[in-house]
C-alpha cells in the first residue's frame, strides 16, 4: 500500500476512475433522459431490458458497436471520422481540472540506512510526483557508524484532482472552445444539406454563448482573485451565521442563471437545439452518422454536460462542500484533510451535486419548446452579453466599495455575510435596472417573416393583403 502511495501518484487513479465514472454515468444518463422524457409525456419509457430497463445502456452500447459504421459516398472521408473523434477527445480532456476532493495531506515515516546529509532531499525523493512537501522533515538517527539508521518523518500535500493547473477554469473554457469544430466539421464533411445547416447553426449558437459564459465565470473569479477551481471551492466552504453555507448561489444568483443558460446552449440541447431540430433538419449535424461515430457524438454531448455542470457546481454550489466534510488540519484551510475517506466522500458529494444540475438539464429539455434562431441570437447578443458585462462591473464596484471596510475580508479574502448581503442587493438592483432598461430599449424587430411559398396559407391573392402592409 505504501509502495503504491509513493510510486504511483494519486492523479493516475483519479484520472482513470473519473474517466470511467463519467463514461458509466453517461450511459445511465441516457437511460435517465429517456425515463424522464417518458414520465413527462405520461409513458413508461424503456423497461424491457433488465429490471426497470436498467440494462438498456449495455444494450445500447453493444448496438453502437455492432451496427454498420456507414459513410456516404459523397462525404469527405477523413474529416467525417475526425469530427466525432475530436469532439469526444476534447470532452475527455476537459475533466482535468475539476476539483473532486480538496487537498489530501499525508505524513509518512521512512527508514534509511546510515546517516544523511539532507533530510529534505531524501523526503523529496520519496514524495509522489506532483505532491508538495510541507514543512521541514524530522530526522532521528539511531545506532553507531556502521549500523546507523535514520528515521525521517515528513508531510506532503497533493490536490485530490487530476491536474492542478494555474489557469484552472480557463483551461476548461479553452478546451471547450475547440469542441465547436466537431460540430462544424462533422456537418460539412457529411455533404448533406441538413447536416451542413445544423453545423452552421450549432456553431453560431455555441460561439455566441461562449461570451456570456466567460463573463459569468469572471464574475466569480473577480471575487476571489483566483482561476483555480479548488481555491474557489475552498473559499466557499465556510458559513455565514454558522448555518448558511457561503456558496455563490447566494451572492451571485444572476450570474448563476446566466451560466446555467449558457451551458444549456453550449450543450446544444433543448430549448437551444436548433442544430438538430428534428422537424426541420432530421438529425442536424449527425444526420449521416451511424454506429460508433454517431455514438461518440452522442456520448460527447452528455460528457460535455457533466463537465459544464461540474464547473457550475464548483463555481456556485461550493463544489465538494457539505457540513461534516471540512478539513481536520488547518481551520483556515478547510480543504486540507488527512483522511482519504473524506476525500472520496467529497468526490461523491461533488458528483451528486453535478447530477442534480444535470437533472435541471433534463427537466428543461422536456418542458420547454425550441427557440427560433433569431430568438436565440437575440437572447445572447441583446440580453445576456450586456447583462454579464454590467454584472462584472457591479461585482467589481461592490468589492471596491465594501471590501476595504470589512476586516474579515481584508484578513482572509473570504466573502463575509456583510459583503454577501451587499452583493445580493447589488444583484437585486441590477435586476430592477435590467427590467426597466428592457422596457426602454427598442424591441427586436419581428423577424418571423411570412414567406409566400406557393400553396402555403400565406400565399393568398394580392387583393387579400392590405396595401399598407
Amino acid at each position: 500500500m505504501s509502495w503504491i502511495e509513493t510510486h504511483i501518484p494519486a492523479w493516475v487513479f483519479i484520472a482513470f476512475i473519473a474517466h470511467g465514472a463519467i463514461l458509466g454515468t453517461v450511459a445511465y444518463l441516457i437511460l435517465l433522459e429517456r425515463k424522464i422524457a417518458a414520465w413527462t409525456q405520461d409513458r413508461l419509457g424503456p423497461n424491457r431490458v433488465g429490471p426497470f430497463g436498467l440494462l438498456q445502456p449495455i444494450a445500447d452500447g453493444l448496438k453502437m458497436l455492432l451496427k454498420e459504421d456507414y459513410r456516404p459516398a459523397d462525404a469527405d472521408p477523413r474529416l467525417f471520422t475526425l469530427a466525432p473523434a475530436l469532439m469526444m477527445f476534447v470532452m475527455i480532456l476537459s475533466i482535468a481540472v475539476l476539483p473532486w476532493g480538496g487537498t489530501k495531506q499525508t505524513t509518512r515515516t521512512i527508514q534509511v540506512a546510515g546517516t544523511i546529509d539532507s533530510a529534505t532531499a531524501v523526503a523529496e525523493q520519496n514524495t509522489p510526483f506532483g505532491a508538495t512537501l510541507i514543512g521541514t522533515p524530522i530526522v532521528q538517527t539511531s545506532g553507531e557508524d556502521e549500523s546507523a539508521k535514520s528515521t525521517i518523518t515528513y508531510t506532503y500535500r497533493y490536490a485530490f484532482q487530476i491536474a492542478n493547473l494555474n489557469i484552472g477554469v480557463l483551461y476548461i473554457v479553452a478546451i471547450l472552445s475547440i469542441s465547436v469544430y466537431g460540430v462544424v466539421v462533422g456537418g460539412w464533411a457529411s455533404n448533406n444539406k441538413y447536416s451542413f445547416l445544423g453545423g452552421l447553426r450549432a456553431t453560431a449558437n455555441m460561439i455566441s454563448y461562449e461570451v456570456p459564459l466567460g463573463l459569468s465565470i469572471l464574475t466569480i473569479v473577480v471575487m476571489y482573485g483566483s482561476l483555480n477551481l479548488a481555491t474557489i471551492v475552498e473559499a466557499q466552504s465556510h458559513y455565514w451565521f454558522g448555518v448558511i453555507p457561503a456558496w455563490n448561489i447566494f451572492t451571485q444568483p444572476l450570474a448563476f442563471f446566466l451560466f446555467l443558460t449558457c451551458i444549456h446552449a453550449e450543450a446544444n440541447r433543448a430549448p437551444f437545439d436548433i442544430a438538430e431540430a428534428e422537424q426541420e433538419l432530421v438529425g442536424g449535424y449527425h444526420t449521416e452518422y451511424s454506429a460508433m461515430r454517431f455514438g461518440l457524438f452522442f456520448l460527447s454531448e452528455y460528457a460535455g454536460m457533466i463537465t459544464t455542470s461540474a464547473v457550475c457546481v464548483a463555481l456556485f454550489f461550493g463544489g465538494w462542500h457539505l457540513p461534516g466534510l471540512g478539513g481536520n488540519v488547518d481551520p483556515a484551510h478547510p480543504s486540507v484533510t488527512t483522511s482519504l475517506v473524506v476525500c472520496v466522500l467529497r468526490a461523491l458529494v461533488f458528483f451528486v451535486k453535478t447530477l442534480i444540475i444535470i437533472g435541471i438539464f433534463m427537466w428543461v429539455r422536456w418542458s420547454l419548446p425550441r427557440f427560433r434562431f433569431d430568438q436565440i441570437m437575440n437572447l445572447a447578443w441583446r440580453a445576456m452579453i450586456p447583462m454579464a458585462l454590467v454584472m462584472l462591473l457591479v461585482t467589481a464596484t461592490t468589492l471596491y466599495l465594501f471590501g476595504p471596510h470589512d476586516e474579515a475580508f481584508r484578513a482572509t479574502g473570504l466573502i463575509t455575510w456583510k459583503m454577501a448581503v451587499a452583493l445580493l442587493i447589488a444583484n437585486a438592483v441590477m435586476l430592477v435596472i435590467i427590467a426597466a432598461g428592457a422596457a426602454l430599449l427598442p424591441a427586436a424587430p419581428p423577424t418571423n417573416r411570412r414567406v409566400r411559398v406557393l400553396g402555403s396559407r400565406f400565399d393568398q391573392a394580392p387583393a387579400a393583403v392590405p396595401a399598407t402592409a
Binding site: P9, V112, N126, T127, L170, Y181, G225, L227
Partner: protein
C-alpha cells in the same frame, strides 16, 4: 532505499524525458499539419489542418509553462479566428470541393520564397547563441501577469481597448454598413428573392 519510478527524485530525469518527447510530438504536430495546410488542395481540409497547427503551438506554450498564453492561443486563435476562416472559406468559395490546381509558375514562385525564408530562419537559428542555462523553469501564475499588465503596461492595455473599439466598428460596418434601412425594407418585402437563394 527503494527504486522510484515517478517520485520527485526522478523529476528531473522523467520530466525532462517527457518534456523532450512531448516537445517533439507537438513540434511534429504543428509542423506536419502546417505542411498539410500548404499542400492540401481541399480548402476546408486546409482550414482543419490549421487547427492542428495552432493546437500544436499551444502545446508548445504549455510545455514552456506559459499556460495563459496557451489558453489564449486556444481560445482566440483556435476557437475564434479559425471559425472565422472556416466560415469565410465555406462562404466565399462557391464549391470548396473544387480543387486548386496551382500553375507551374506559382509553384516555382512559392517554393523560391519558401526557400529564402527557410534559409533566413536556419541562418538565424545557427547564428544565435541560446542561453540554455537561463532557461526559465518554474511557475508563472496568471496574477503575476496581471500585475505587470496593469502596472508597467497599463497604457498599452488601454490602447488595446481603443484598438478593439476600432475593430468592432470596422466589423459592424462591414457587416451592415452598405445596407441602409430603406433598402433593407425593400429586400424584406421582396420576400422570396434573397432568402430562397441562400441557406439559412
Amino acid at each position: 532505499m527503494s527504486f522510484s519510478v515517478l517520485a520527485q527524485s526522478d523529476i528531473s530525469d522523467a520530466a525532462n524525458t517527457a518534456t523532450a518527447v512531448l516537445f517533439y510530438l507537438f513540434a511534429i504536430m504543428a509542423g506536419g499539419s502546417a505542411i498539410c495546410v500548404a499542400v492540401s488542395r481541399n480548402i476546408v481540409r486546409t482550414a482543419v489542418a490549421l487547427l492542428f497547427t495552432l493546437t500544436g503551438v499551444a502545446g508548445l506554450y504549455f510545455l514552456l509553462n506559459a499556460e495563459f498564453l496557451a489558453a489564449v492561443q486556444l481560445v482566440v486563435y483556435a476557437g475564434g479566428t479559425l471559425i472565422l476562416i472556416i466560415f469565410g472559406v465555406m462562404l466565399t468559395s462557391k464549391s470548396p470541393f473544387s480543387r486548386f490546381e496551382a500553375k507551374l509558375g506559382e509553384v516555382v514562385i512559392a517554393m523560391s520564397l519558401a526557400c529564402v525564408l527557410l534559409f533566413a530562419l536556419v541562418m538565424g537559428i545557427v547564428r544565435t547563441t541560446f542561453a540554455t542555462d537561463e532557461f526559465p523553469t518554474g511557475n508563472y501564475p496568471i496574477d503575476r501577469l496581471g500585475q505587470v499588465l496593469l502596472g508597467d503596461y497599463l497604457v498599452p492595455f488601454e490602447v488595446v481597448s481603443v484598438l478593439l473599439l476600432a475593430v468592432m466598428i470596422g466589423a459592424a460596418y462591414l457587416a451592415k454598413g452598405r445596407r441602409r434601412e430603406g433598402e433593407e425594407g425593400a429586400a424584406r418585402s421582396g420576400s422570396l428573392s434573397r432568402q430562397a437563394r441562400e441557406w439559412s
